[in-house]
Symmetry: C2
């Protein structure tokens, strides 16, 4: 079973540098996990991920359960071997996907009835089954099934979902049979301060080896997100890893680390890369803009990634305009490297005792993507996913 | 300027092993050029191409002229630097694309009026302009502008197009100002024996440094294609490289080499890869078929490519079913490696004097894709390209 070691704590903030020791390797924290929902970090091969400095990736139980099916992955020797990734993996339980991707999902105390977003077929998953699936996939860290309310749900709905998530967390632990996987529960509580604290306190009392913080970055805005994160973290033990789920913009990563988060995952860096949005220290740049057409230099002169070392902005601009598949790959390489380097720089700053000044410098030069644009983009993406669901009514 | 050296000739067939020496490196022949029409061999980076054993790639004047524009490429230091490919490049003149891709193309003696398949804009290119464009792109080998008739055109139409191609070849040579690029004309003549011979004889008499053979593999069927190839080759000088344009199925490559072809290009291996059609010594296999769902071994056990060394058929099947971008990349890697290895094996067989038995063994085990299926697939692809043209009428 993996364990967590705190290496250094920032004296001026809650930031921490640590080490997550798993049977597939050590992960220096704070760490970012690129998302490989369908057993692939889109466009990249495992070797590239390693060269980018990626130490742990995320897989998704919901996606793998539906396709190719967990039995297929097990038949190939488990998720590590199936996707040829030798390092640590964390699988999400699929709770979030059940509520955001599946059409017609219905929660009962026993579990979740839902339809596949791929073909509309009907399914049921209980907390126990989700653990069994994750044991078959064989990730190093697995997550409990949670009931993730939508942003905007009222207090009673969120309270009920949160309490259910706690009961399911207990059931997940009871169902666990493998000793070599660490099981993290997920703090919920929406944007209700008391519920957030209650959720974190309840789960902390159950003494898990690490804690997920879920239900954030769903449209509530940055300020509320960070306030809720703080409420959650206050109640969690200092000696256990804290994983902020689904958060991944550069400014949010810095803000999260400053508040004591150790692990992050988000599809954002890879998803926006495929739209041509590339990270620089000054903020996101859209390579599709005409201003790049004759740009005879790398996208980000300070960047050490393969894309920046090899190609001009003009070339990338051309690939995006021509809708060439290589565009998505080169952009993904760049964004993942940007995020991984940012995590490494934060870790170093913590180790050297100057995290506050690093954080201040970074946030002073990094222009975050406009909040409204972000929310709009995310909603658009979720809509387009739903529209692609060509399932048939039974 | 590049030159060609014959290293070994097969005593039992017309097959030859040679060396094409260019200012960007030596190309052992027979050689296959992966197609990078838009300054990228789809999904792959230059380093991967080199690791696959690729020694020369093809760019396309028509595509680069329309997007990003030749001036943009020139501004970035030419095509080699633009796409970061350090090895030899051959650019096609765009003749074939003008006639197959452009809607509303009109030939006059001066050149070709056509519309962009991207935005419907109107353009005109003369043989002289095509040379000027190729001089700016800076490839090692460039091609004359040809008038490529469609399969099925009658004798008089083909004769007229062929004679015009000859006059244009002369004009191209007159227009050439750079001495470091080799200019090849293109043999036409459709499926008319006498015209084929006449075209090859005429161009041979003009003493170019190499010869393209065009207007084949357009739906005429394998037997006729090979007969026309033979007619063309008969009239071409033995000491100059012969380049069979647009031919790339494994069995056609073997048949072409046996008849004395030195260079080939085709989008086929990369295009079919993206549909899930993967080469094996027994023929093409469709990885999307359900039979691969639980295949716990490489697609092709004898293959030394990264894909086969790293992933199971089940994983590739999953990536294709999930429409993951990595699928197209891994399949492309495999098919290009298959073709490049085949070329290397043929060269070795020629050098060792056993090409006939190699060729016989290969063709005995390789099951070609059904002719009808091939033609149908090609027509479907051409139609889908035309349908994607969302140009506006002026």
């Amino acid at each position: 079973m993996s364990h967590f070691k705190l290496v250094k704590t920032c004296p001026h903030s809650q930031a921490r540098a640590g080490e997550l020791v798993t049977s597939h390797g050590i992960v220096p924290t704070p760490a970012f996990m690129p998302v490989g929902s369908q057993a692939t970090v889109k466009t990249l091969i495992p070797e590239e991920l390693q060269n980018l400095g990626v130490r742990i990736i995320l897989g998704n139980t919901y996606h793998l359960y539906l396709r190719p099916g967990v039995e297929v992955v097990t038949g190939m020797g488990g998720l590590h071997r199936f996707m040829a990734w030798p390092g640590p993996i964390l699988t999400d339980s699929g709770g979030y996907q059940l509520f955001s991707l599946s059409p017609l999902c219905k929660v009962v105390e026993e579990g979740v009835h839902f339809r596949s977003h791929i073909d509309g077929s009907q399914h049921f998953l209980s907390p126990e089954q989700v653990i069994a699936l994750q044991e078959k996939l064989g990730a190093d860290i697995i997550m409990t099934l949670d009931h993730c309310p939508a942003y905007g749900d009222g207090l009673e709905v969120v309270r009920s979902a949160t309490e259910r998530s706690h009961r399911w967390a207990e059931r997940c632990r009871q169902a666990q049979t493998r000793q070599d996987q660490s099981l993290y529960p997920i703090v919920q509580g929406g944007t209700f301060t008391e519920l957030r604290r209650h959720s974190a306190r309840t789960l902390a009392s159950l003494d898990f080896p690490g804690y997920g913080i879920g239900g954030l970055s769903l449209g509530e805005g940055k300020e509320i997100m960070l306030a809720m994160l703080e409420e959650s973290l206050t109640e969690l033990p200092l000696d256990k890893p804290r994983y902020l789920m689904g958060v991944g913009s550069p400014d949010d990563l810095v803000a999260g680390v400053a508040r004591g988060v150790d692990l992050f995952d988000s599809a954002l860096p890879t998803r926006v890369a495929r739209t041509g949005a590339l990270y620089t220290r000054q903020g996101r740049r859209n390579i599709r803009n005409a201003s790049w057409q004759r740009h005879d230099g790398p996208i980000d002169p300070g960047c050490d990634c393969y894309t920046c070392r090899t190609f001009t902005g003009a070339y990338l601009h051309h690939l995006f305009k021509a809708e060439e598949l290589l565009a998505y790959r080169l952009a993904t390489l760049h964004n993942v490297r940007f995020i991984i380097r940012l995590m490494a720089e934060m870790r170093q700053a913590i180790s050297e005792g100057n995290f506050p000044s690093f954080s201040q410098d970074f946030l002073a030069s990094y222009q975050p993507t406009d909040e409204e644009v972000r929310v709009e983009q995310k909603q658009k993406w979720l809509r387009s996913r739903r529209e692609r669901m060509n399932y048939k009514e039974a």
